[in-house]
Amino acid sequence: MHTPDDRDARMFTRAFSALLEDSPEGPEFEDLLFTVDVQTVEGGVGSGRRGPWVLVVAVFAVVTLVGLVPALIQGEGALTDEMGSVPGPTLGVFEPLRGRIVVVNGEELMGIDPADASSAVTMDIPDLPPVPDEACSLWSSGPCNDGANSLRPIGWSNDGTVLALDSEHAGMSYLMDETGTLIRIPWERIGTGSGCCAFASSNWLAPDGVHASIARGLGVAVVDVRDMSIESEAKLDPDEFPGVEGWGQIYYQTWSPDSTEIAFVAVRNEDGAATPTIHIYNRNEKTLRQLPDQGFGHIRNLAWSPEGSQLLVIAGDLVLRFSELTNPLTRPVATAIHLVDVDSGEARTVADGHYVAAAWSPDGSQIAAVDYPSSHHLVVMNDDGTGQNRLADMDGYGYDNLFTGVSWHPAS
């Protein structure tokens, strides 16, 4: 007696037999290489091979930052640690962006009213300050100082007067204040860099507007951007988190709304797979904990909820190898938006799609996300995934228009 499984198997076998009737011969190995000449070469790997991407740059010469960062960043006492939107201080050049979803559109910033997408405003980004040669990252996707203005918004200080931006084009991070002054964060002073090829924003700026987190070795460092001093560091045990030589292991960071904790993604080598885990570092208690494993194949981004209890996690089923950490991210990959409880680790999926970046509304009732099924779409939804509304289609920037970012201005 034939079972349904037998019948299914026969159907598929017949189908594939027919489809393979015209299957061509596979190309010969030599034909693949278009070999012009064959010669015996002594030794090992040749110079024509490109090395893998790395996320942590080598230590560069110290760069002195004279006065600009302290002048740019407001004192800590001027900012509030309270959650939610903060009325009050003049926003200067950021006034048109008050309360709006801010994205990169080509080479300018665009502020979109979530309630009225037709009233989008655009804002030119100042010219990038020159990058010292010794600070140009070895792995940048393009040269530094080539005139390309390829910034994307990362996140805001709580009072909405400081905007963090990344230029993955050159692997650089910047802060802009309400006067429109743009400064570069000299990560190389502490022997690290902002990384390459994540292709979407990762919010390293603390809501207090003074501290930042940066991947450093097998962990994250908390840095006071006023003087680039390292306040503290979280380190993972390399025995528990084996990697692959030449590949970074720390990705995507997000700060708690009270600026006391940092959540980040670490990947470890499990039989060649880059298995992701989520970790939370408390800078006051100097404690590091790992959230229970959710079984995600790969994690694309994190965003801490404004009320502090949940992590928005963009993740997909696709299991990546270290060498694939960047390649699949250059093309649309199925990912979903999940909300994970920061204490229990319980997770629920709120939206399926091809998401690459997301930001919470200041009151935590909505999520703005960049969906990338074939090109970049800005989508807004309720925090439970309902009420999805496509607000805009955007141009990415950089090669193949891949880089993108989204943030939500905190002031009402």
Binding site: D8, F12, A15, L19, P24, F29, L33, R49
Partner: protein, 163 residues
């Protein structure tokens, strides 16, 4: 090992790379044919193998078959997005008098989403287990089961409609 030097591409590869490729070539081309059609299959395989060789040796891969199969699937999905139809259909369907008309099942399978087609090919044609297929596709076992279930459902739906 005696390497080959490809002057045009600046690659150095070895006889071991050639051997690894020879062992998987036929399976790769069959896989690519099912995913993108016979006209594009060789291009997909070439693109994937050369891309891999530009960064590492095939012989150094822990599991070259899985690695290359995943690469072919990823590339096939890129090709599928660029073309609106599975290539093999356009030639066959246009010739209604051809004695070699594709059976309805083949048309139905060719119309499946690429990942469902990949999963059913690996399980029903290549004979891999669900667990092995998960590794070859770079997804979890539950995901493969879902693809198989969706594909079976779609096939039955089509056959029922034709009955």
């Amino acid at each position: 090992m005696q390497p080959f030097w490809s002057l045009e591409r600046g690659l150095i590869v070895t006889a071991s790379d050639a051997q690894v490729y020879a062992e998987v070539k036929d399976d790769l081309i069959g896989y690519a044919t099912v995913l993108v059609g016979p006209d594009s299959a060789a291009d997909v395989v070439s693109t994937v193998v050369v891309r891999v060789l530009a960064r590492r040796r095939l012989a150094d891969l822990e599991d070259p078959r899985s690695y290359l199969f995943r690469g072919v699937l990823n590339e096939a999905r890129s090709v599928a997005r660029r073309h609106s139809r599975y290539a093999v259909l356009s030639d066959r369907e246009s010739n209604e008098d051809s004695p070699n008309l594709l059976p309805e099942v083949a048309i139905a399978v060719a119309g499946l989403p690429v990942r469902q087609r990949a999963a059913t090919f690996l399980v029903y044609w290549m004979g891999f287990t669900v667990e092995q297929t998960a590794v070859l596709m770079g997804v979890r076992v539950g995901t493969v089961k879902r693809y198989l279930s969706l594909a079976r459902g779609k096939l039955r739906e089509v056959l029922h409609a034709h009955a």
